[in-house]
């Protein structure tokens, strides 16, 4: 395998700069921190638990709001914990869903233990086999530049795994860790305050 050169914080900031009115879900751990570092946003639902659920939350959201693009940004470890959800999302064929995995091949949160991705497991091949409309592995800046528009434009479900370096990044958190706050904020921003349950 070639060596990764992309920086996760720079990658996430670049992917989010064209989000417009897209709905974003970030996975437990570093991808939540990456998105927070790129700028807090009420239409980002940042997971701080429930590892393995990011793609399914994105799928439920994509089905509820076919008028909006839904972007899931999660880590390779979080994705590995929910591999079945790739098949569930793939066969559901939501045209408005994009899944991006920030892949350092490691469990950065727990002490840099190597993940299966660091041993050669290729999530893009799995996504392709799971009926995703497209799936790519991103190693370089030009590839990332091409992906930046694709995740918001081409018919989904779109999958990309972006190989990033393992350099440590500081923790960045949402304004509150309280789940009721984060879900209320998200729903108020999307549906308007006081939307019926």
């Amino acid at each position: 395998m070639p060596a990764a050169t992309l920086n996760r914080r720079a990658v996430t900031a670049q992917l989010l700069r064209k989000r417009d009115n897209a709905l974003v879900v970030t996975g437990l751990g570093s991808t939540t921190y990456d998105a927070c570092a790129a700028g807090d946003h009420p239409l980002t639902f940042p997971l701080l638990g429930a590892m393995g659920s990011a793609v399914m939350i994105g799928l439920g959201l994509a089905k509820a709001r076919p008028d909006r693009r839904v972007l899931v940004i999660t880590g390779d470890g979080e994705m590995l914990m929910g591999l079945g959800s790739l098949a569930t999302a793939g066969v559901s064929r939501p045209q408005n869903l994009a899944v991006v995995v920030i892949d350092n091949g490691l469990y950065a949160e727990t002490g840099m233990q190597r993940a299966h991705t660091g041993h050669g497991v290729d999530l893009a091949t799995i996504a392709k086999g799971a009926c995703f409309a497209s799936a790519a592995v991103i190693w370089t800046q030009p590839e990332l530049d091409a992906l930046e528009d694709r995740i918001y434009s081409v018919a989904g479900p779109v999958f990309a795994t972006i190989k990033v370096t393992a350099e440590p990044t500081p923790i960045a958190l949402p304004p509150s860790l309280d789940g009721t706050y984060l879900r209320t904020r998200f729903r108020d921003a999307l549906l308007g305050p006081g939307a019926p349950d």
């Binding site: 793609v55 399914m56 959201l61 509820a64 959800s85 009721t180």
Partner: protein
């Protein structure tokens, strides 16, 4: 082979169950728009009815825990959902229930029971008997129904409870309602 314990899941034309149809109508009346399920014989008719309705987003899951995430996404997007599963899958959901609990997101789970009334397979008894305490360990409100004519009313009440008070609610549909799975 097991002694036949009526009612069984093999119904003749005179004995077609109506409770899944009443249950379906109750879900439609509650404005449910998404259904997630792991295939289950006890929910077979309900699943078929859900798939037949193009206004419903009905999602087959590889494992029950996926359904918790699906319901959270639906709620964040402004839709109501319900999750269908067999008691054997309840344990799979445990950590994911922290999501709906921490975020106070309404969750309705309709659980068909195994491992009790007339069960034939000893392996089913463990998770079936552990189902109420597994749910309760995560703060899920658990209700149970053992009579066919009370299924729809119980589901109506539990749907109201979940969405009015933003709670996680499980309805356990007893094996007596579903019928014991025949093994011959």
């Amino acid at each position: 082979m097991p002694e036949s314990v009526a009612p069984t899941t093999r119904h003749n034309a005179m004995n077609t169950p109506t409770w899944p149809d009443e249950l379906y109508e109750a879900l439609m009346a509650a404005d449910v728009r998404q259904v997630g399920y792991v295939p289950d014989a006890g929910h077979r008719r309900l699943i078929e009815r859900c798939h037949a309705n193009p206004q419903l987003a009905t999602t087959s899951l590889t494992t029950e825990e996926e359904g918790i995430g699906l319901m959270v996404g639906a709620y964040l997007g402004g839709q109501r959902g319900v999750l269908l599963m067999q008691s054997s899958g309840v344990g799979n959901c445990i950590n994911m229930l922290s999501l709906t609990a921490e975020c106070r997101i309404p969750l309705v789970m309709l659980v068909t029971m195994r491992g009790e009334w007339g069960e034939f397979v000893p392996w089913q008894v463990w998770m079936g008997q552990g189902t109420p305490s597994a749910f309760e360990s995560m703060g899920v409100l658990v209700y149970r129904v053992d009579e066919r004519d009370q299924v729809a009313d119980t589901v109506k009440a539990c749907t109201a409870l979940a969405f009015n008070t933003r709670r996680q609610v499980a309805v356990l549909i007893g094996q007596k309602v579903i019928g014991t799975k025949p093994f011959k």
